[in-house]
């Protein structure tokens, strides 16, 4: 127990030190919310992925791999291609636009891009962020509660409060810079944990074939034993995470902060892509092999989502298990902090500053953001304590709301000059209202046959597919339709066509050419 505590305390000291260091870069909104658009590509790319992969990666997803077996790997496929799609379709273009518009938040960008003078896009954006991001943060606190409960034998609710307080402290201190650089440290902890656990599990099980020998055929089937249309629905159900990537403000804000849009192409996509492959394989095999350990009686868990902390405590000495628990907390905190920051920007900047025109000194605006962080933490703690504690489900609910609310409009505004503000308002309003009703009143996060009336018939056919997957494409259709029925200002179309112009790549100058130029400049050599 003491050993575990040592590992976690060392980790927390590192986070606090980063928070204090980052405080010097936090004087105004630009710096607090997007790091002055000058974040190095390595930090931005690692922070992007650490913010993306949360307690879901360390607890929720291994829990699914534990329960469903090989079929759960489809979720990894969805997340991997979602990550790549973000870099290909969103990252560079969003950075270019947000730099031009000096946009700090996603609603900032959408309002400027669509020339919305009604403030409705900003209000809708803030509402989507506030509702779904608070739910998302509560999922992280629930995950933190579970990890600490497994490690220290304390109550889950006590663990929830401890996690929330630690995250809140360093978000309050350092803003975006603290979040980005703690994310980098956390990304390292996460990758180390997720490489270590499956390797140790393989060792204790005596090899991969011995592990699979302990499992049922259904556990080893890529479609969970289903065939035909049911197999397709099963795979889509898991892989559907992909469409959510375009609309996650805590992820896409990282692209808005990066020092140069061209670096998102190289090395950005390589850093994120390779890191994602490693952690997804690690998380999947932790749960998959954890199940074999469970069947062999090596590890005991009452909740599949606690499999990684349980494995760490069996396979590692105390202090090293402490670092693994720290790795789990890292995943949780690195997401929760980014989400708190985005939610705080939605209230402090998008609503109070830009909608109601509250003009305060820069420092006061930053402090206002901090008050919002404090308030949202309290609400998220309440949700985590009172609601469901199944991390996979809570994350899917929140992910879905953001995916439908922002994904289609972000994607279309980056790639289609013809999108209008009316279409943006209609699409975001539809996304917000439909997701709230479908997820809270009719289905929950995934289609199922228990829904009333016609919804039950549809739910039976698509059972297991997340609601957001279908709703994403409906929202896309709504925006395209309304755009075709309305007309964007010519200025918007012109800007869109000009801003993404491409130019020939500058050839790198070799060392010999540098020397020759210098020699010419000082007169040692004459141009022939």
């Amino acid at each position: 127990m003491e050993g575990i505590l040592v590992g976690i305390v060392v980790y927390l000291i590192i986070l606090m030190a980063i928070g204090i260091w980052a405080n010097r870069y936090t004087e105004n909104e630009d710096q607090y919310f997007v790091g002055g658009r000058k974040v190095s590509i390595i930090a931005a790319a690692l922070s992007d992925k650490a913010s993306d992969f949360s307690g879901w990666l360390m607890l929720g997803y291994p829990g699914q791999a534990f329960k469903s077996g090989l079929g759960a790997f489809w979720a990894a496929v969805g997340c991997l291609f979602g990550t790549l799609a973000d870099y290909v379709f969103v990252g560079p273009r969003l950075r270019i636009y947000s730099g031009r518009f000096r946009a700090i938040t996603v609603p900032d960008y959408l309002e400027a891009r669509l020339m919305d003078d009604t403030k409705l896009i900003r209000i809708l954006g803030a509402l989507i962020i506030l509702i779904f991001m608070t739910v998302y943060v509560s999922a992280q606190y629930a995950a933190g509660g579970k990890a600490l409960a497994q490690a220290f034998g304390i109550g889950v609710n006590t663990g929830v409060v401890i996690t929330a307080v630690v995250v809140m402290i360093y978000v309050l201190m350092g803003g975006f810079f603290a979040v980005v650089w703690t994310d980098v440290v956390q990304a390292m902890f996460m990758v180390a944990t997720l490489v270590l656990m499956p390797v140790l599990a393989l060792g204790v099980l005596g090899g991969f074939d011995r592990a699979t020998a302990l499992m049922s055929s259904t556990h080893l089937d890529p479609f969970g034993g289903r065939t035909g249309f049911a197999a397709l629905v099963f795979a889509i159900g898991y892989a559907s995470w992909i469409v959510g990537y375009f609309g996650q403000p805590h992820i896409v804000t990282r692209y808005m902060s990066v020092e140069d849009p061209r670096k998102l192409r190289r090395p950005g996509i390589f850093i994120s892509g390779i890191w994602t492959i490693i952690v997804l394989w690690g998380a999947f095999f932790s749960g998959f092999l954890g199940y074999a350990m469970f069947k062999a009686g090596i590890v005991h868990v009452s909740d599949p989502e606690r499999i990684i902390p349980a494995m760490a405590m069996v396979l590692l000495p105390g202090w090293l298990a402490g670092f693994v628990i720290a790795g789990i907390l890292a995943a949780i905190m690195s997401t929760a902090d980014s989400q708190l920051l985005v939610a705080s920007s939605a209230v402090a900047r998008d609503v109070l500053h830009m909608v109601f025109g509250v003009e305060l000194e820069e420092n006061t605006m930053v402090n206002l953001g901090r008050v919002v962080v404090f308030t949202l933490t309290a609400i998220a703690i309440y949700l985590a304590l009172s609601g469901s504690k199944i991390v996979y489900d809570i994350v899917a609910t929140a992910w879905g709301g953001l995916a439908v609310g922002f994904g289609p409009i972000i994607l279309l505004t980056l790639w289609w000059s013809r999108v209008t503000k009316e279409a943006g308002i209609a699409g975001m309003a539809y996304g917000l209202i439909s997701e709230v009703i479908l997820e809270s009143k009719i289905y929950g996060w995934a289609f199922n046959a228990k829904a009333p009336g016609i919804f039950g018939v549809i739910g039976a056919k698509l059972a297991g597919v997340p609601v957001f997957f279908v709703n994403f494409f409906i929202t896309l259709g709504v925006i395209v339709l309304v755009s075709l029925l309305t007309k964007p200002p010519e200025e918007v179309v012109k800007t869109h066509r000009e801003i993404f112009k491409k130019v020939p790549v500058e050839r790198a100058i070799s060392q010999a050419e540098h020397v020759a130029r210098f020699a010419e400049e000082i007169g040692l050599m004459r141009e022939s």
Binding site: S98, L214, W281, I298
Partner: protein, 84 residues
Amino acid sequence: MVNNNDLNFTQVAIKKLYILFTFPPDGGVKVLSAEGWALLLIPTFLAVIVMLLYGFWDKITGMEYYVDDEILGYDEKMVNIERR
């Protein structure tokens, strides 16, 4: 329910030996099928191809997005802090 804290390394080692000696547990060896390996490997391989293609698309086409100071839009105060 057994608490994992109650299992020490010796007990884990004994469990491990038990698995090694009783393998395969039900008389037949269940291994991952070719479809199973395909699910694990093909998407990962395709992802690497996508990374390489997109990562070097500027080299392949010889063209890249135009970027100037206006687009970079750095926060001036931050630039000054860094200079200091």
